[in-house]
């Protein structure tokens, strides 16, 4: 049996008195491409943020590459070495150039030499098709370019799993596809990924597991085929009708 990349068992989380996650169970195997969708406030981002411990859960078990996430240094190390993350707001470091953004993790956290880190950075900048922007500041790039830099920055850490938290929600419409194309390529190359998105066309193309969340629960999971053509739950049907009506 192969080790699950991510395993969530009965995970509960509260913000104060408000329960944001209710009994979340999720298994992501190496190579899986999971897309999480659902209405705003349904807890989808929180699931992703719990996986790499930007948020802490209060009950249940989360394992990353078999390591139980208990907040220990060893557990955090497992996350930082195996899980990459791309944020809705890019979160590039505005005071550094694109190249410096990409060098920081490999050089400071991994101890790579500048030469090796630069070679690696150029490799991933080419992969997201913007090597020519290496010496600009993030503020000089378009939103789509910034998000591709953010993806490259994450890839520079050579993670086994990539988390995408609404990677195209902050983008102008004409820039969405350039970012989705990069993510699709990663998917085709076999990267394990969990993507929170409202882009249903993209979900259908890359996902091999769809997860629908509402009010902190996983309402339905299934293959894209089942999910889009024959959703089981009433809530999923309503959501799909709303989101696909235009």
């Amino acid at each position: 049996m192969t080790q699950d990349a991510i395993e969530m068992i009965d995970v509960d989380k509260w913000f104060g008195d408000f329960q944001v996650l209710k009994g979340i169970n999720l298994n992501v195997k190496p190579g899986d491409r999971v897309v999480i969708c659902g209405p705003s406030g349904s807890g989808k981002s929180t699931v992703v943020r719990c996986i790499n411990r930007l948020e802490t859960h209060q009950k249940g078990v989360i394992r990353i590459g078999g390591v139980v996430q208990d907040g220990s240094a060893k557990a955090l190390e497992a996350i930082r070495s195996e899980v990459g993350m791309v944020f809705q707001q890019f979160n590039l470091f505005p005071h550094l150039t694109v190249m410096e953004n990409l060098l920081l993790g490999p050089m400071k956290a991994r101890g790579l030499s500048r030469k090796d880190a630069e070679a690696r950075a150029m490799k991933y900048l080419e992969r997201v098709r913007i090597p020519e922007q290496a010496h600009k500041r993030p503020g000089q790039l378009s939103g789509g370019q910034q998000q591709r830099v953010a993806i490259a920055r994450s890839l520079c850490m050579e993670p086994k799993v990539m988390l995408f938290d609404e990677p195209t929600s902050a983008l102008d419409p004409e820039m969405i596809s350039e970012v989705l194309d990069v993510i699709v390529e990663l998917a085709v190359e076999g990267m394990t990924m969990v993507v929170v998105t409202h882009e249903m066309g993209f979900a259908r193309k890359v996902a091999d597991q769809m997860v629908f969340m509402d009010e902190g629960e996983i309402v339905e999971t299934g293959t894209p085929e089942e999910f889009f053509t024959a959703p089981k739950s009433q809530r999923t049907q309503t959501f799909l009708k709303q989101i696909l009506s235009h």
Binding site: M85, F93, K108, S154
Partner: protein, 252 residues
């Protein structure tokens, strides 16, 4: 109220006009005695500046150390910051100066340490301590103004807390921290006048001593105020220059 102000203005104006209350000869640069007095007064400038610079430097380091626990997510750690800031901020400078200069050596002695505190270091310790509560708040506000997403992104690429501060947060926060920090320096320069009461030979102390021998408080203290005014205006110009520089950096 208005009558009172009018009366006061009248009094000052009439006073300025009459030559018998002003005796500028004490600081007349054209006479040897006056020139000696001016040199005596202005020579305190070096001590005031040195005192302020060293105290401000210590306060900047101390303030950062105090600010960091204030940014923790854990309440127990944040309390350290709050207690320090509230406590230090509540103590007036003069009593703290007396406590450090006259009281602290006794504490040292009881611990078996033979540490004498001279007026210079007594003043520096007090100014730095007192000011650090304010610099800590400046750091905290500056660091908190950097979006949370920056810390999160730094975490996800494996940076430690220290690395995140060093490479991501502080370089961005410094642009918002430096101008108010420089402003705070003006506060230190002015408060350094208190060092005169423990015998530190700075601007105010020298003015006091000259008043005792020359018996011309009006002229000497007027000149003293002008000395501080020049010093503070120079620093203000420096702060504005710094703000412009920082601002243009941010746009680029």
């Amino acid at each position: 109220m208005r009558v009172l102000f009018s009366l006061a203005a009248l009094l000052v104006l009439s006073g300025c006009g009459s030559s018998d209350i002003w005796g500028w000869y004490v600081v007349n640069p054209m006479t040897p005695a006056g020139w000696t007095n001016i040199k005596f007064l202005v020579n305190g400038m070096g001590a005031t500046i040195l005192l302020s610079l060293i105290a401000a430097s210590i306060s900047m380091v101390l303030g950062l150390i105090v600010a960091l626990p204030g940014l923790s997510e854990r309440r127990g750690i944040r309390v350290i910051n709050r207690v320090y800031v509230e406590f230090i901020r509540a103590i007036p400078l003069l009593p703290m100066l007396f406590w450090v200069f006259y009281g602290l050596p006794i504490v040292f002695k009881s611990m078996g340490l033979n540490i004498q505190i001279d007026p210079f270091w007594g003043a520096i310790i007090t100014l730095a301590l007192s000011d650090s509560a304010f610099t800590a708040e400046i750091y905290r506000a500056g660091i908190q103004s950097i979006a949370k997403g920056q810390t999160e992104a730094a975490k996800t690429i494996g940076l430690s807390y220290i690395q995140t501060m060093r490479y991501v947060i502080l370089p961005q926060a410094i642009r918002r921290i430096l101008p108010p920090l420089a402003n705070q320096f003006i506060y230190i320069v002015k408060m350094s006048a208190f060092a005169s009461v423990i015998g530190m030979q700075e601007l105010t102390r020298r003015a006091n001593e000259l008043v005792v021998t020359e018996y011309r408080p009006l002229e000497i203290y007027t000149l003293l105020i002008v000395e501080y005014l020049v010093l503070v205006l120079l620093i203000s110009a420096g702060v504005r220059w710094l703000e412009r520089k920082m601002g243009s950096d941010e746009r680029g």
